[in-house]
């Protein structure tokens, strides 16, 4: 029977199962294949905080969502169109993210009495009529997988590990994807174990065949390639991108990269990534605590390294005093905060934007630090490079804010080439004549970097207040006042050295939506939809927050209303109100989850409708 093919512009699929079901791998393979076939896409893994939660429970559910399309894709998708659920618990946890009339594909073997009980179902949702508003497809994936491998004499444990490939094979059929990419991956991964290559390949093909030949699925879908900028791409998540950004910056600065850090979710992957780049002379120092992470980095910076420390919310709190030291000694330092839900330990694996005020203001004394933020996973590369550039040029610590959503989320990245990256090499002071540690450059106000080992430049720095120019300890009132103002002015001058802010949409109008950080894709999607409806709305996304680009005030003044969506109780909005005295309107949600575009669209409608 020839099956019907429908063409779709965009689709969101969520793979969900037990932690041990291999859903991240399945999602990752679907992503790589879709990327290779030319779709634009955005993905978000969703895994439990528990490492090995009991099998079959709701807190052991691991999910992976991919939004892909023939058009520009900016978010991992508000809702999914298709939910693949390998057991009862994963259905229970993920059903709320499924569209009405969406497709559910379940592995019926995961809905036995024990699974139902563990998931908290009193009766099977497959039979009680509760799923009638969806299109439900029931497949005994476990049994079919066993049948496919019946003649191979494999241990049951091995067979169980391949069943995710059956689900993947079905989805590849449903979306007209080639099996070649994953087959190649299987060979690369299991090359030394021919029986594993055979088993995984065979199960995937069995899934594909099952969908093709049985009557279970009547429709397949076609998602055409997206009009992406030509060039070479790879799929990258924010943490990988940040790590590569630091390596690229060290390379372009002709310095060695030193990372002092302490493992913390969701920032640890930056450490893991950098630990593999030893042939770039990257030194990763896994410290005894967060404080040693930043102070060792300050020590390395004193010695002439491009020094960085990585952390997440509570870790940033622990680094507070040392950040003040870095401000005082005026040494370059990159601090990357992959924000997570707070306060305290909070929601370690969930995303949030609630550390902005901590980053800008959270230190004792007048302690100005430049703060910048990445807006998409691949933008973490650009901004990590930018944080390094600013730190080196202005001899200052710089905080780069990303978040769990950006750190773990991924998107296709048009690869930059070395020749396109600027040189950011600093000039070490080597001439001992008339050297004073706190003499400043007229333009940048930054002091010179003189590293130990340089003959004749022996000097002492530290956290006590410095005398202007000499850097000697000094407690005189006028000197302190001067130094406080010089440190602030130095950071303010960075505004001369960053791009002007740019609005997407009309340059003036009724409403400007102002965002920062990981909300970029969601706001962009919402504003584009409203523009298509003919609404007078525009989008400004701030990547530089301290200092702000010089034209922000002017931009804000050109719109009747300013709306600031944030995953916090209103932090950027405080700064905009204080600096520009505007009655900005907040949209705030703090659920550990990204905004959905629809939430922003509804708020845009209500503001434009006069309901503030």
């Amino acid at each position: 029977m020839e099956k019907e093919t429908r063409v779709l512009d965009e689709v969101t699929i969520r793979f969900a199962g037990d932690s041990g079901d291999g859903m991240q791998l399945t999602g990752g393979q679907f992503t790589n294949t879709s990327a290779a076939m030319g779709n634009d896409l955005s993905t978000l893994p969703d895994y439990p905080a528990e490492i090995r939660a009991p099998i079959g429970t709701t807190y052991g559910v691991s999910g992976f969502q991919i939004h892909f399309g023939a058009t520009e894709i900016n978010t991992p998708g508000d809702h999914c169109d298709i939910l693949v659920a390998m057991n009862a618990a994963s259905l229970k946890v993920n059903l709320r993210s499924l569209q009405e009339n969406g497709i559910i594909i379940v592995n019926t073997d995961g809905f036995g009495d024990k699974n139902l009980k563990l998931a908290g179902y009193s009766q099977s949702p497959l039979a009680d009529g509760s799923l009638t508003k969806y299109q439900l497809f029931q497949v005994d994936i476990t049994k079919l997988t066993n049948l496919a491998l019946a003649d191979m004499n494999l241990p049951q444990k091995t067979i169980d590990k391949t069943k995710n490939f059956f689900a993947l094979g079905m989805m590849y059929w449903m979306f007209n994807r080639t099996l070649d990419n994953t087959n190649q991956w299987i060979i690369d991964k299991f090359g030394k174990k021919p029986e594993m290559v055979e088993a995984n390949s065979r199960v995937m093909k069995a899934g594909w065949n099952y969908a093709e030949t049985t009557d279970v699925f009547a429709v397949k879908y076609d998602v055409k390639p997206a009009p992406l900028t030509p060039g070479k791409y790879r799929n990258i998540n924010g943490n990988q991108a940040a790590a590569l950004g630091l390596v690229a910056a060290a390379h372009q600065a002709n310095l060695d990269l030193f990372l002092g850090t302490y493992p913390i979710t969701p920032a640890s992957d930056i450490l893991h990534e950098l630990a593999t780049f030893k042939n770039f002379r990257v030194k990763t120092f896994q410290c005894e605590d967060e404080i040693a992470g930043i102070t060792s980095a300050i020590g390395a910076s004193f010695g002439g390294a491009l020094a960085a420390t990585t952390t997440s919310g509570p870790g940033l709190a622990l680094k507070t005093e040392a950040m003040g030291l870095a401000v005082m000694v005026e040494l370059p330092l990159v601090i990357i905060n992959v924000q997570r839900g707070g306060p305290s330990t909070g929601l370690p694996t969930k995303t949030e934007q609630a550390d902005l005020l901590q980053a800008i203001y959270g230190r004792n004394g007048e302690s100005p630090i430049p703060v910048i933020a990445a807006s998409t996973p691949s933008d973490c590369f650009t901004m990590a490079f930018e944080a390094s550039r600013i730190a080196l040029k202005y001899m200052t610590p710089v905080i780069l804010l990303t978040d769990g959503y950006l750190g773990n989320g991924s998107e296709p990245w048009l690869l930059p080439q070395e020749k396109d990256l600027p040189s950011i090499a600093p000039k070490f002071r080597t001439n001992p004549e008339n050297y004073l540690p706190y003499l400043r450059d007229d333009v940048t106000l930054s002091r010179e970097w003189a590293i130990p080992g340089t003959i004749g430049l022996e000097h002492r720095i530290g956290g006590l207040e410095k005398q202007d120019k000499t850097g000697n300890i000094n407690y005189e009132p006028e000197n302190h006042d001067l130094m406080v103002k010089l440190r602030a002015a130095k950071v303010e001058r960075i505004a001369n050295d960053i791009p002007l802010a740019k609005v997407d949409g009309p340059e003036s109008g009724d409403l400007l939506v102002v965002g920062w950080g990981g909300t970029y894709g969601t706001i962009k999607t919402a504003v584009e939809r409203k523009l298509k409806e003919g609404k007078s709305v525009a989008h400004l996304h701030l990547k530089y927050i301290n200092p702000l680009p010089k034209n922000v005030g002017e931009i804000l003044s050109k719109y009747k209303y300013v709306l600031v969506p944030e995953i916090n109780l209103g932090q950027l909005i405080k700064i905009l109100r204080e600096k520009f005295l505007i009655p900005a309107i907040g949209l705030n949600k703090v659920q550990g989850l990204p905004f959905r575009s629809i939430e922003i669209e509804e708020k845009i409608d209500s503001v434009l409708g006069g309901k503030l």
Binding site: A36, N279, G303
Partner: protein, 349 residues
């Protein structure tokens, strides 16, 4: 080293200049209280550095917060006055980034063992090649006289008006327990001994931990007089010397022998024992080092002073350099374009 650092710094690890102690005095006025034991440590360090024949510009002193932590300001070398407790962490980062430097840490019993205790134990287990001088005055001086983690139990201070109920650390035991490879103790009022110990500490490859009994004549005057003053010193202190029997007392009339694992004092005068019966110090023996360090707060035993342990173990920064060298020899020097183009890539035409 990176290209830029390579260009900026002196490559030699041996000085072609002959220094005197004056070459290591900075232009800053020394502001410790008159009579403070810190002056002695400063003087001995400045006296020993010329003997090391190490280029001055490659020497760095790093400190935390406290009276002793003013030390770097008085040395005409590179220096970093850090924040409270973090000197060892700052120094670790510097030494890992720049193994060519000789890095010293000046810290105290509060800075190094209280707020900075965590970094202290971890630097010792990693064996990063730092020379740590721990000025132990058994009191908080800079904050004007509260008890410290080395103050004796029952200590009456401003913050413990009826006596502290804390049990003190024995710094030498803590350092040994943390895997320290060079652990020693010296006295502010014994300059010769301190010079010997400081020199050995500088020459040791790995973390050197030197506890220096240092008198705070304002807030804890006389805390160590029993061990430093003529009248009591010989009966109260046993100097540890490698390969020599443990003899102490006026005219060497007493010794220490091992009774099982317990050291005991014996008389060399009453004919019952000779030096042949005594414990011979071996600074390579870590078990012995623990036994000797544990004599510290035992009132029946003299206070052990000298080098408890001096053994070799690979250093963190060297091992890291080896991993880097091996990665470069296996994979070639990192090429940025190759890195950026790594992973699964695809081309959009």
């Amino acid at each position: 080293m990176s290209i830029l650092v390579d260009e900026a710094v002196n490559q030699s690890l041996v000085s072609s200049v002959k220094y005197t102690s004056k070459d290591f005095s900075s232009d800053q006025d020394v502001r410790w209280c008159p009579g403070c034991g810190d002056y002695s440590v400063l003087a001995q360090v400045q006296r020993i550095l010329p003997e090391l024949n190490y280029p001055k510009e490659k020497i760095v002193f790093i400190s935390g917060i406290g009276c002793s932590s003013r030390f770097p300001y008085y040395m005409d070398t590179y220096g970093f006055h850090g924040i409270h407790g973090r000197a060892t962490a700052i120094a670790s980062g510097l030494k890992i980034a720049r193994p060519d430097l000789m890095v010293w840490v000046a810290t105290g019993d509060g800075d190094g063992l209280s707020i900075g205790g965590n970094h202290m134990i971890h630097v010792l287990r990693r064996n990063i090649d730092l020379n740590i001088l721990l000025f132990n005055n058994q009191i908080y001086g800079l904050t004007k006289g509260q008890y410290s983690p080395t103050s004796e139990s029952g200590k009456i201070t401003k913050s413990s008006p009826v006596g502290s109920v804390d049990m003190p650390f024995n710094p030498a035991s803590l350092a040994l327990g943390s895997g320290g490879t060079f652990v020693a103790r010296s006295l502010d009022r014994d300059p010769k001994h301190m010079q010997t110990i400081i020199k050995r500490a500088a020459e040791h490859k790995g973390t050197s931990f030197v506890e220096i009994y240092q008198n705070c004549n304002v807030f804890n005057d006389g805390a160590f007089f029993q061990f430093t003053e003529k009248e009591t010193k010989s009966d109260s202190v046993v100097f540890l010397e490698h390969g020599k029997p443990l003899v102490f007392g006026k005219d060497g009339d007493k010794g220490i022998k091992l009774d099982g694992f317990s050291p005991t004092v014996v008389s060399l005068k009453d004919g019952s024992h000779s030096t042949n019966d005594l414990l011979i110090h071996n600074e390579k023996d870590s078990t012995l080092a623990f036994i000797l360090a544990n004599m510290t707060y035992n009132e029946e035993m003299p206070r052990p002073v000298g080098i408890f342990l001096a053994v070799d173990r690979p250093r963190y920064e060297d091992e890291m350099e080896k991993q880097i060298d091996s990665a470069i020899s296996k994979r070639g020097k990192g090429q940025l374009d190759k890195l950026l183009n790594g992973g699964d890539t695809w081309v959009i035409q």
